[in-house]
């Protein structure tokens, strides 16, 4: 494996130190170095999401009207008790941003996991069985890829109501088709390989072949797509929450904070800027990690 990646020299346009921190998909030669900054950022987000309740200085819903709209600590009028300031109800911004990480990441992870599993199932069966089943499944996939997401989400939430489960369902509807299409195309190539032919000739059951030989050989690309999709899912969840059809108060989400802060944008910049930065930070981190995985594990670049 290690000797087969010498495709060409690293393009001279890439900057080595930048590449190490934020790798681009263009680095062709050799294995891309582990992006330390990216990994640390992702780890920070995950830690905040899991242990946020213990890390945050205040409970996210602790209202203190006397301290409302305090600016961040480094600005005039700020206080060290609220490092990133407070919102219109005097709730600590830092604590709410940390709480938002939990919701955003949990939603993104759950949606990615469920859409990944469903998409892999459809793609695997369609690609392996073929025939009419494949044609029908792939036309359904095409149809889902053609749906305008925001409109669909609004319509679904209007009929089903909001709630964690429904938000995830909406996101799965938006995302599963991409997995199905990727997996089906990968299965078509793996299916032609000799070890699958031999297994079939040796009388191994189709289900066993699918699970034991075909599935493991396509999982590589699925994992890469899933990590890239986490960033996408964070944006989707934020958009939904911003539009008021996603996470509902008293739960906190970055998109929701963004929406709430709009009224005060003129004189309390931190209410909108900080959650916005968090979204950018999280999406960048996961996209960068996905890029690296992509170059490292799927060098042929089929995604």
């Amino acid at each position: 494996m290690s000797d087969s990646h010498i495709v060409g020299a690293t393009p001279s346009s890439t900057i080595p130190w930048l590449e190490r921190w934020f790798p681009s998909s263009a680095s062709a030669g050799g294995q891309p170095p582990l992006p330390i900054v990216t990994c640390v950022c992702c780890a920070l987000l995950v830690v905040a999401a899991i242990f946020g309740t213990w890390l945050a200085p205040y409970p996210k819903e602790a209202v203190s009207l006397g301290d409302s709209l305090l600016p961040p600590a480094w600005q005039a009028g700020g206080t060290m008790r609220h490092l990133l300031g407070t919102d219109q109800l005097g709730r600590d911004m830092l604590s709410r941003l940390i709480a938002g990480a939990r919701i955003s990441l949990a939603t993104a992870a759950a949606a990615t996991l469920v859409s990944g599993m469903f998409g892999v199932l459809v793609g695997l069966v369609a690609g392996y069985v073929g025939g009419i089943l494949e044609s029908v499944a792939m036309r359904v996939v095409d149809a889902f890829l053609a749906l305008p997401f925001i409109l669909l989400a609004l319509a679904l939430v209007a009929t089903l109501g909001t709630g964690f489960g429904n938000i995830i369902m909406v996101m799965v509807i938006a995302n599963w088709a991409r997995y199905a299409r990727l997996v089906r195309s990968e299965v078509l190539t793996v299916k032609q390989r000799d070890f699958v032919t031999l297994a079939r000739i040796a009388g191994v059951r189709p289900l066993t072949i699918m699970l034991r030989h075909v599935l493991p050989n396509v999982l590589n690309s699925v994992v890469v797509l899933a990590i890239l999709d986490v960033g996408r899912a964070i944006i989707l969840e934020s958009s939904l929450s911003f539009l008021g059809v996603g996470i509902q108060p008293p739960d906190v989400s970055w998109g929701l904070m963004l929406a709430d802060g709009r009224t005060f944008m003129g004189f309390a910049w931190w209410l909108t800027t900080l959650p916005g930065l968090m979204i950018v930070f999280a999406v960048l981190s996961f996209n960068s990690l996905g890029r690296w995985l992509h170059v490292r594990f799927d060098p042929r670049g089929q995604l």
Binding site: R193, D194, F195, L198, I201, A202, G203, V204, R205, N217
Partner: protein, 320 residues
Amino acid sequence: MLLEVRNLSVAFGSVMRPVQAVSGVDLEIAAGEIVGIAGESGSGKTTLCAALIRALPKAARVSGEIRFDGRSMHALSPRELRELRGREIAMILQNPMTSLDPLFTIGNQLGEVLATRCDVPARHLRDREVELLRSVHMTAPEERLRQYPHELSGGMRQRVLIAMASATAPKLLLADEPTTALDATIQEEILVLFREIRDRRGTAIAIVTHDLGVIRRICDRIVIMYAGRIVEEGSVASVFAAPRHPYTRALLASIPVLDGDRVHVQSIAGQVPNLADLGDFCPFADRCPIAVDQCRAQAPPEAAFGDRQRVFCWRAEGIS
């Protein structure tokens, strides 16, 4: 007779203008016999092989009869077919580089075969794996078990595949171009391995190849195919000594001969006929140097010679 094929035909494509990949093949393979099936690309060797184990794509139209060990292959239920393919008939493909799953170790893949096909209990698995690799003369078998396919050379992988194929002590082993992807020196070792398996287990082996040298070295009998038909068959000794069909003669003449420091290669003029436009006459007539009008008008009859040699040629009597 272990395998009996009667009047086997395989056609693809439309009913109106079928591509006749195999037509009217009669073939017998006895237990413990090594048979070489030779012919150039597109002569139907591989299709014939796939038809023998009912592994053709659904679009193929098959007629004729195949009996394996006294049972008709077409009468088998899917379950019986699976059992037969897994235990009594094994197959080896041309490219050892892609015949192993790259994600599992050699031990893992051998173990799967042993556990599911030979009912080896888990506690004996490792011993049997090592034993199997020894039987194909693999160096350092314990170490190989922990390795992944990409860590092995082509010859070693082909050994692993032969080990897997012979694990169940099959009655018939089908090898489709088993040595084509290997170096000449490795080829020889693999061929020796085939003969050992036959001698040890009484396995009949059918080797499909375009390399007559391979057939001469290890086969008992040779079957020459052209355009989906058998044109000549017989013991290796008699066919190589006295080829009767002009195609066989041309094939033998096309083996490069080293004469001093010059290499002579005799090529066969013309091309393999289009399998969709075969008439009811000798398919080799257009390229045959001794064809007469009759060859282009009627299908040649079977002519038998000593030592079970069969030739399909109008002029077989005249050649020797």
